[in-house]
C-alpha cells in the first residue's frame, strides 16, 4: 500500500488555447505582462486526420505553471469574428455577457503592490484593465487578451479559513442534490444546506477543536 496522500496533484502544468494572432498574443503575455516564454514546439502536421502544421508556445505564469497557445498554419478563424466569445468559440449574438465571461483564467499575485504593478502594465498597453473589483476576500483586475480570452489577476485579502472549506463542502453537496431536481433554485439549495449544517456543522467544530488540542 502506498503511503502517499490521496490528493497528489501539484497545480497547473499548462492550460492551452488556440490563437489566430500569435504576434498579439506574444505582445500581450511576453512584452506587456512580462511573462517569460519558457517552451515551444514546432510540429509538422500529424496523426490520422489532416492536421495543419502548428506552433505550440508557452508562457510562465509563476509557480512553474504555464499558459500555452496553439497557432495552426493555414487555419482561418472559426465562426463569426464579430460574435461574442473568443478565438476558441464564438457564441450566438445576444448571449448574456456574464455567461461569455464566466470562463476565464485567474492568476494570483502576492499583494496589492503586485496587483497594481500588473494594472500599470496593462493600462499602458493596448489591453487596459476593464474592471478592478474588491470581492469578499479577494481583489481582482480583469481584461481580455488579444484572442478574447478573459484574464483575471487576483490577490487574496485574507487567508481562507477552515470553516469556509466546510461551507464550500456543504454548498457543493447541496448543489449536487438540488441540481437533479426538475427546477433547481437557490431557495431549494439553501433549504437543503440548512439541513446539512444541522447534521454536520456542530460535529465538525468539535473535531477541529479536538485537532487543535492534540496539536
Amino acid at each position: 500500500m502506498s503511503d502517499k496522500p490521496i490528493h497528489r496533484v501539484r497545480g497547473v502544468d499548462h492550460t492551452a488555447f488556440p490563437t489566430f494572432d500569435p504576434a498579439g498574443t506574444v505582445r500581450f503575455y511576453r512584452d506587456v505582462l512580462k511573462f517569460p516564454v519558457v517552451h515551444s514546439i514546432c510540429a509538422a502536421g500529424w496523426g490520422p486526420e489532416k492536421h495543419p502544421d502548428f506552433i505550440h508556445f508557452f508562457f510562465d505564469i509563476g509557480n512553474d505553471d504555464r499558459i500555452a497557445f496553439f497557432y495552426y498554419f493555414g487555419l482561418k478563424p472559426i465562426g463569426d469574428p464579430d460574435a461574442p466569445g473568443d478565438s476558441w468559440a464564438r457564441l450566438p449574438q445576444g448571449t448574456p455577457k456574464f455567461f461569455v465571461n464566466s470562463r476565464h483564467l485567474a492568476i494570483h499575485v502576492d499583494d496589492e503592490e503586485d496587483l497594481l504593478e500588473y494594472r500599470r502594465r496593462l493600462d499602458e498597453s493596448a489591453w487596459p484593465v476593464e474592471m478592478q473589483v474588491m470581492h469578499e476576500t479577494i481583489e481582482s483586475i480583469y481584461t481580455h487578451d488579444p484572442n478574447g480570452y478573459m484574464i483575471e489577476i487576483t490577490r487574496a485579502l485574507r487567508p481562507v479559513t477552515p470553516q469556509e472549506d466546510l461551507d464550500a463542502e456543504l454548498t457543493v453537496q447541496a448543489l449536487c442534490e438540488v441540481a437533479g431536481d426538475q427546477e433547481p433554485s437557490m431557495d431549494k439549495l439553501l433549504t437543503r444546506k440548512a439541513e446539512l449544517i444541522v447534521e454536520r456543522a456542530a460535529a465538525w467544530e468539535q473535531s477541529i477543536a479536538k485537532e487543535l488540542v492534540q496539536s
Partner: protein, 81 residues
C-alpha cells in the same frame, strides 16, 4: 418561525451585529454558523450592516422552514414557509 444561517467570517460580522440589535431575533451558534431565529420575519437593513454588495448577496448560508422574499440593495427579509 423564520430561521436562517450565516457563516462566521469577518465579512459577515455586520449582518450578525445588525440582526443582534433586533430584540425579536435570537442568535445562537451551530458549529461555525450563526443561527438567526425569529417568531416574526427576519429583516436586516443592508446599509446598517455596512456590507458591500458581494458580501451582502452571499451572506445567507441556509434557510430552515423559511424563504427569502426580499434580498436587494435595501434589505433582506426572511419569512417562515
Amino acid at each position: 418561525m423564520s430561521r436562517m444561517y450565516v457563516l462566521e467570517v469577518p465579512e459577515n460580522e455586520g449582518v450578525v451585529k445588525v440582526a443582534g440589535m433586533d430584540p425579536a431575533i435570537t442568535i445562537d451558534k451551530v458549529g461555525p454558523y450563526f443561527r438567526l431565529s425569529c417568531d416574526d420575519d427576519i429583516v436586516i437593513d443592508r446599509r446598517a450592516t455596512g456590507c458591500r454588495h458581494a458580501v451582502w448577496y452571499s451572506a445567507v448560508a441556509g434557510l430552515e422552514h423559511s424563504t427569502i422574499v426580499q434580498h436587494d440593495k435595501d434589505q433582506l427579509r426572511v419569512v417562515a414557509r
